[in-house]
């Protein structure tokens, strides 16, 4: 969740971000505001004719026409109100679509170096849930701002034409309301923001304990945890109610003024009509005028009441912007990859003095120098945390090349090898879609026979027979699950379908049991001819099939000595 205690500076930055996003929905947002003002103008018409109808009835004049005209104004007003809502939806829809794609593109530019440090669930919900939370702000709150300024002016003007006392009453109460609301609401708003965080934590605790029931049961601890949950809920209720007692005051004030002004207008108009006013107002209010302002009065406070109801829309949007901002920050304009395709021949790669320091200062890899032979299986060997994965990532552009140089077949590497090399990670993603989509990754230009050959050679064919629809079987989150070993073979098929002459593998067997690892290595061995294969691993079984083993600790030590001498 968002940090409840946003600094003033942060809030300004979030405000600027929100304003920028608003541009995407500017047209519909303006239309919504215009309709919002128009519907109050139309309401003035309704009030006028409704008052005329009653006055006509009292005077014994024909009143049906005025009553029907009032209904007509009400009808057109309902249309304007609907259009206001619709345009607001459209404004929010455009902003949401824009923000979602802008964030997704930013993530794609930042690449795995950034995304691998995110929790998939959290980042995924940023693209969906956080973006959805912008809806209220852009659909309701923002279009309402001009209405708050415009509509009351129209209604005050209309009231003045009927009775200056009532007009004055409107003018005096209008600025008082936001003032009172700000005084009461200020303290409550700060507290209620904390409260949102507490609520999220409480819901989070309940969900976490529900998901961890197996663990709790294993320790016979479900009953104890239940008592903890009960105490936490009780504590939450008490604290929240304390805040709400204050927070509801601000809407009570609005409520109070709306009711009070209706009462004041009714009494003023009534006494004036009776001729019993205790003071000389210098005006005579007719029945028509009196009824007109009476109908107008509750509506006069409506825009402000709508704003106070939409208050949490803004808090939601700020929380969402706070979630999304780190994903959007420091996006370098994505250098378009030069259109170089995969290698035609297996390459030889030489690294000299290559090191990596991440943006946040973490050391990814201390300088190493090594030469990866063409057409061989090379293993980079070392314990976890030694930088062997980073070495592979530097080649792909997933980690920064901080010093040193990389040569491919003797030529200086100017762009990372992404797009030119096959990649198999520790936990390859099973994308949702068919098995075929998972091999082609939605690239329609890969010919069918290449897919079939890759399926056979990667050993995918072994379990293909068990899948109900063969290559078209849906996989992924909501489809068929594959075992770790099977997923690795699909990942291998991805590389083979494109006939990649260079394949990089980052601990490909870390999550496989012995038999699955053996099968994967068999498939790899039968496809090794004509390929440069580089594997980072700490598995002895993988090491056993290597032509060349580079011990990363030795290489780094060697480089330090070499540098010192």
């Amino acid at each position: 969740m968002s940090n409840p205690a946003l600094s003033r500076e942060d809030r300004r930055a979030l405000g600027a971000l929100l304003t920028g996003w608003g541009q995407a929905g500017r047209g519909p947002s303006l239309l919504a505001s215009a309709c919002g003002i128009a519907q109050y103008a139309l309401f003035i018409g309704f009030a006028g004719f409704a008052a005329s109808a009653i006055a006509a009835l009292v005077a014994g004049e024909p009143f049906v026409m005025a009553a029907l005209l009032a209904a007509l104004f009400a009808f057109v007003r309902a249309g304007a109100q609907a259009l206001e809502t619709r345009a607001g939806f459209e404004a929010a829809a455009r902003v949401k679509a824009h923000v979602r794609m802008e964030t997704a593109r930013a993530l794609a530019v930042k690449g795995p170096a950034f995304t691998e440090r995110l929790e998939t669930g959290a980042a995924g919900s940023a693209l969906t849930d956080a973006v959805e939370k912008l809806e209220g702000y852009f659909g309701r709150y923002r279009p309402l701002m001009p209405v708050i300024a415009g509509a009351p002016i129209l209604m005050v003007a209309a009231a003045f034409t009927q009775s200056w006392v009532v007009g004055l009453l409107f003018i005096i109460t209008a600025p008082l309301l936001p003032l009172f609301m700000a005084i009461v609401g200020g303290a409550a708003a700060a507290a209620s923001k904390d409260q949102i965080a507490v609520l999220a934590r409480l819901a989070g605790r309940f969900n976490d304990r529900l998901q961890s029931l197996a663990l709790l049961n294993a320790f016979n601890a479900a009953q104890r945890e239940r008592e903890g949950l009960a105490a936490a809920s009780e504590d939450f209720r008490q604290r929240t109610m304390k805040v709400l007692r204050l927070a509801f005051l601000s809407s009570a004030i609005l409520e109070f003024f709306a009711a009070l002004s209706v009462a004041a207008i009714a009494i003023y108009v009534g006494f004036s009509l009776l001729g019993e006013l205790p003071f000389d107002a210098g005006e005579t209010v007719t029945l028509r005028e009196g009824l007109f302002v009476l109908i107008l009065a509750p509506e006069f406070y409506m825009p402000l009441r709508r704003l106070s109801a939409a208050y949490h829309d803004r808090a939601d949007a700020e929380a969402a912007a706070d979630t999304l901002r780190p994903l959007l920050r420091n996006v370098e304009s994505g250098a378009a990859h030069p259109g170089i395709g995969p290698f035609d021949m297996c390459p030889k790669i030489t690294l000299s003095g290559v090191s990596c320091t991440y943006e946040d200062g973490r050391k990814g890899l201390k300088p190493v120098t090594l030469s990866i032979p063409a057409g061989k299986i090379s293993v980079v060997w070392g314990p976890s945390g030694s930088g062997k994965s980073t070495l592979l990532k530097i080649l792909m552009g997933f980690a920064p090349l901080s010093s040193g140089e990389v040569r491919v077949d003797g030529a200086l590497m100017t762009a990372p090898l992404a797009g030119r090399a096959g990649w198999i990670g520790q936990n390859p993603r099973l994308f949702h879609g068919s098995l075929r989509d998972n091999i082609t990754l939605h690239d329609p230009s890969i010919p069918g026979e290449m897919i079939e050959r890759a399926v056979a050679e990667a050993g995918v064919a072994d379990f293909l027979v068990h899948l109900s629809d063969g290559l078209d079987t849906p996989l992924g989150e909501r489809g068929f699950g594959l075992s770790g070993g099977q997923i690795q073979r699909v990942a291998l098929a991805r590389a083979l379908a494109r006939d990649m002459k260079l394949v990089l593998m980052d601990e490909p067997s870390a999550h496989l049991d012995g038999e699955a690892e053996a099968r994967f290595l068999d498939a790899l061995l039968s496809n090794r001819d004509g390929r440069t294969i580089l594997i980072a691993t700490h598995s002895p079984a993988v090491r056993a099939i290597a032509d060349e083993v580079f011990d990363i600790a030795e290489l780094q030590a060697g480089h330090e000595q070499g540098g010192a001498s």
């Binding site: 409704a50 009400a74 679509a97 995924g124 309940f206 294993a218």
Partner: protein, 577 residues
């Protein structure tokens, strides 16, 4: 309706808060109707009296007092109503969560009806959230609309009976019929929105979790455009839904003023005097204040109802293993024996998970279970923990059938360190105390020392009070596993069950983990361990290895002896040893 009644009965202890909230909501609405209609009547009647020169004799005390009273009553009523309904909601929500927790606890992890426990739980979570609004947004608005309509009918029947039909008719039509109709029409649109939302979610997750592969093959643009298409589909679904809601809004916006006009015309047409015709119009106007929340309630009705139905189903589920009515006392001994155990997972699984499995884990025993994934290793631990009951055969602990000891009795003798090393999202301390709530500070540190975890826990920003787990994730996988091991040590149960405890650890961390385990075992020769693994380093320390293949134990012996045979063991480990 029956389902909703059930959840209302769950709220019985808080019924006075609910009633208070409902009564206040009704009073507030009535005060609003009273304020407008009395004002309208007063002005009109005053005009007639003033024109007739009867101003002085007009009894305005009732009217002006009433108007002021309604104004105050309305404000205070709304304030008190919001406090009362929120109080009720929080109380009931807490009760509902605990009710769900109580029902779900015995069902986990076995789940039921083919649902995996995880699916069940994530569904439950969403459903509890959906029921949040049952009382606040469904019941209170419905009650106050009902009483508002009744009061309006009563006043109109005295003042202008002709206005009853148009006013109440329009109210019921726009506040009740239309929203329910829209909810029905919106059902398919709602379902397609849910589907489109989860499409978008999947594409987003694919993009983020699969970034390395996508970038490697230059396929990120393909997934980006799929995400864009899914997002567009989602938004157009929302647009269809919003269109239906829009119809409601528009009808409602028109129906209020229209019923003002209709009430007025009907009353005037039937010959009612002008002040009463005005009264009829303003009553209609005031009553429609109750319609907007009713429309919202109608839109949510379907969602709330189906959530309530699914939650209620929890009540009818029976746990896979029930606690016996009078469990046997725990035996002194703790040797474990499986005797011809057969087991198939519930939910229509065709393949048995265990067939005729027999083995013993004597006191002081160190037994390793190996086998390809899916061969049945973890099922043995799940049965022993009493998460599931065997279909045939018996499992004994200290000579007694665990069915007679009951799951919680059995578990008191067992410590489990799971494959995933589950940690609660809370502090290190609370995670440890799970195993032994009364443990002292010294005992906590001693367990951490034993698990080789004390050093890094000391280095954590807040030591034992550092927040870990889902939200914290300040610890690495290896550290999480050592905290889980410390927790198991702290429990001080004599039988340790380890399910792939060193998975994904590098060999140095693995060796440290095993040293810690050995030291714990050596401290008391009666302590025993059952360990599932496919790591050669762990086999070396086991005295006996059981090899599983396709739900059966196919080989038994020491690791060295098995390596010499030509069998399943060799196929598993040939490349590694």
């Amino acid at each position: 309706m029956k389902t909703l009644a059930f959840f209302l009965s769950l709220a019985r202890p808080d019924r006075w808060w609910l009633r208070l909230g409902a009564v206040l909501a009704i009073l507030t609405l009535l005060a609003g109707i009273g304020l407008l209609s009395l004002s309208g009547w007063f002005i009109t009647a005053a005009a007639i009296a003033g024109a007739a020169g009867l101003g002085r004799s007009f009894n305005y005390l009732f009217a002006s007092g009433g108007v002021r009273g309604f104004a105050m009553g309305r404000t205070l009523g709304r304030y008190a109503e919001r406090l009362a309904t929120h109080e009720a909601t929080f109380r009931i929500l807490a009760r509902l969560r605990l009710w769900v927790f109580d029902r779900a606890a015995p069902l986990v992890p076995a789940g039921l009806g083919g649902l995996r426990a995880g699916d069940l739980l994530s569904r439950v979570t969403g459903d509890v959230d959906a029921l949040d609004g049952l009382y606040l947004r469904l019941i209170t608005p419905a009650l106050s609309a009902l009483f508002g309509a009744l009061a309006a009918t009563l006043v109109l029947s005295l003042a202008a009976p002709a206005a009853i039909l148009p006013v109440i008719g329009l109210f019921v039509l726009s506040g009740l019929v239309l929203p329910l109709l829209a909810a029905k029409l919106g059902q398919s649109a709602g379902e397609s929105v849910t589907a489109a939302a989860s499409d978008t979610r999947s594409e987003a997750a694919d993009l983020i979790a699969g970034m390395a592969e996508l970038k490697a093959y230059g396929a990120e643009t393909a997934v980006l455009s799929r995400l864009e298409a899914a997002s567009t589909g989602w938004i157009s679904g929302q647009r269809r839904l919003a269109g239906l809601a829009l119809l409601n809004t528009a009808v409602l916006a028109f129906a209020g003023p229209a019923s003002f006009v209709a009430g007025f015309l009907a009353a005037a047409g039937s010959g009612a005097p002008a002040p009463l015709a005005a009264l009829a119009g303003f009553i209609a106007f005031g009553l429609f204040e109750a319609a907007a929340p009713l429309v919202l309630a109608g839109e949510q009705y379907g969602r709330t109802l189906s959530a309530a139905k699914r939650l209620k189903a929890l009540d009818d589920m029976r746990p896979a293993v029930a606690e016996p009515a009078s469990p046997l006392p725990l035996p002194e001994a703790h040797d474990v024996a499986f005797d011809a155990v057969g087991f198939t997972y519930p939910g229509g699984q065709a393949r048995p998970a265990l067939i005729d499995v027999s083995f013993t884990l004597p006191e002081g025993g160190r037994v390793a279970l190996v086998g390809a994934s899916g061969s049945g290793k973890s099922s043995i631990i799940r049965l022993l923990m009493g998460f599931y009951a065997p279909d045939s055969g018996t499992i004994r602990l200290g000579g007694a059938d665990i069915a007679a000891l009951g799951p919680s009795g059995t578990r008191a003798r067992l410590s489990l360190v799971d494959q995933r090393a589950d940690l609660l999202s809370t502090t290190v301390r609370a995670n440890l105390l799970l195993a032994r709530p009364e443990a002292t500070e010294d005992q906590l540190w001693q367990a951490l020392e034993q698990a080789r975890a004390a050093d890094f826990v000391r280095a954590l920003p807040d030591g034992l009070t550092t927040w870990i787990g889902e939200e914290g994730r300040l610890v690495s996988g290896g550290q999480a596993r050592r905290i889980a091991l410390a927790r198991a040590f702290l429990k001080d149960a004599p039988v340790m069950l380890l399910d792939e405890p060193t998975e994904g650890l590098d060999s140095r961390t693995e060796a440290e983990f095993l040293d810690a385990l050995d030291a714990w075992l050596d401290a008391d020769t009666r302590r025993s361990v059952l360990i599932i693994t496919h790591r050669p380093a762990l086999l070396a320390r086991a005295r006996e290895v059981l090899v599983m293949d396709e739900a059966r134990i196919v080989q038994t012996g020491s690791a060295d002896a098995l390596a010499a045979e030509d069998g399943a063991f060799n196929r598993l480990f040939a490349k590694q040893i």
